[in-house]
């Protein structure tokens, strides 16, 4: 609208105008826009590349890729186990994301956390959705109609492994606690308490 008006005004003042002027004008504007959009996208993708992920590296997924694409192909059951592990990890991440969602939202609204963390959270959520879709597709490759059987197993595996991990951490925790509380173990295995009279 504004452009049209200016063109009309210029036409009134200057009687003769080259045919190329509007073409050059449009070209310049378009080139500027294209250059801007290319740069903008590049920056955005770079930012995505360099953004610190919300979770640590997804080892089960890496392992599954590695085994699936390795040559010769591993036993099918091993591959299936790797897929199950990948699914269990995805369940764990989905649960974690859901767990923190109310807090992240509340903190973000209050301004306690910055855009960066919030965006990382949102990217993680999107990635997780895609990951679930990919796992579903992979499962269907093994045998159609396995999903209803697969998914309940994933949850059990995820929880059971968490439980076992916690249990096997008992020994390390013990040493850490003793260290933290400055309790020493004497040679015959008796604890020496620093703040207790002998």
């Amino acid at each position: 609208m504004a452009d049209n008006q200016t063109t009309e005004q210029t036409e009134q003042v200057i009687s003769k105008i080259s045919v190329f002027t509007p073409i050059i004008y449009v070209t310049v504007v378009l080139t500027a826009l294209v250059v801007f959009s290319i740069n903008y996208r590049k920056n955005k993708i770079n930012a995505l590349y360099n953004r610190q992920p919300f979770f640590k590296r997804n080892l089960p997924k890496e392992l599954h890729f590695e085994l699936r694409d390795s040559d010769p192909k591993p036993n099918e059951k091993v591959l299936k186990a790797a897929l199950l592990r990948r699914g269990a990890e995805s369940i764990r991440r989905t649960i974690k994301l859901k767990e923190v969602q109310p807090f992240i939202t509340a903190l973000y609204q209050k301004g306690s956390i910055g855009d960066d963390l919030y965006e990382r959270y949102q990217t993680a959520t999107k990635l997780e959705e895609l990951e679930v879709q990919e796992i579903v597709a992979e499962t269907e490759k093994y045998k159609a109609g396995w999903i209803p059987k697969f998914v309940p197993l994933l949850q059990e595996i995820c929880f059971n492994e968490a439980l076992r991990r916690r249990y096997s951490a008992i020994e390390d925790r013990k040493l850490d606690l003793l260290d933290q509380w400055e309790i020493k173990i004497s040679k015959d295995g008796i604890l020496e308490f620093p703040n207790k009279e002998k």
Binding site: K77, W146, K196
Partner: protein, 215 residues
Amino acid sequence: MNINNINIKNNNNNTTQSIMSLPITYDPITKIISINESAQNDQELKEEIDQLNRLSKDFINLNSEIPESPEPSKTLTPLIKKLVTSGIDAQKRGKHHDAIKQFSLAIDMASRRSRWEAFAIQLQELNLILMARCDSYIMTKNWIDAYNDADMLLGTQVNTPENFLRRATAASNMGRLTQAKYDLERGLCFVEDDERIKTQLGVVNRLIAVENGDL
């Protein structure tokens, strides 16, 4: 695919390790994945590979293509129960060291269950054994182990006041009086008039007063 690439790149940035070259070797005969010498220090990868090997072993031992249901194994359940009952017997006879051995064995046996067996059942089983083992630790005055067992119990089962009593007993005997006091008070929130917790709280309060020089 695009998203995958981004993910790969991210991983690259953090760990300087590309997705396609994890330091692992697969043995087609034993069907076991092992970690290469170069990456022996990577605890995370080690743990993950252990978990995967366990799961694939469970899978290979399974006759059907996929586990039909998360029902617990029928062969392991009686074995575990037997170990637990013999542990409890030893506990009743006052042989706490034997009892602890039996309970630890039972836990090891329970961890041999396939990972897809129902979690609710596995959790309950582990909790029961841990409670019994914790009591035996307390009886043998092995406070740090008792504390650790009770700590895990409280992580999985908060609403049992006895677990607070267990952790507090262990903590107070290791001289961590304030912590014991908090635990007992939390336990009392679940059952207001539990005599054992009340008595223990009285003891702990007295100890704190002595430590502060008030008594």
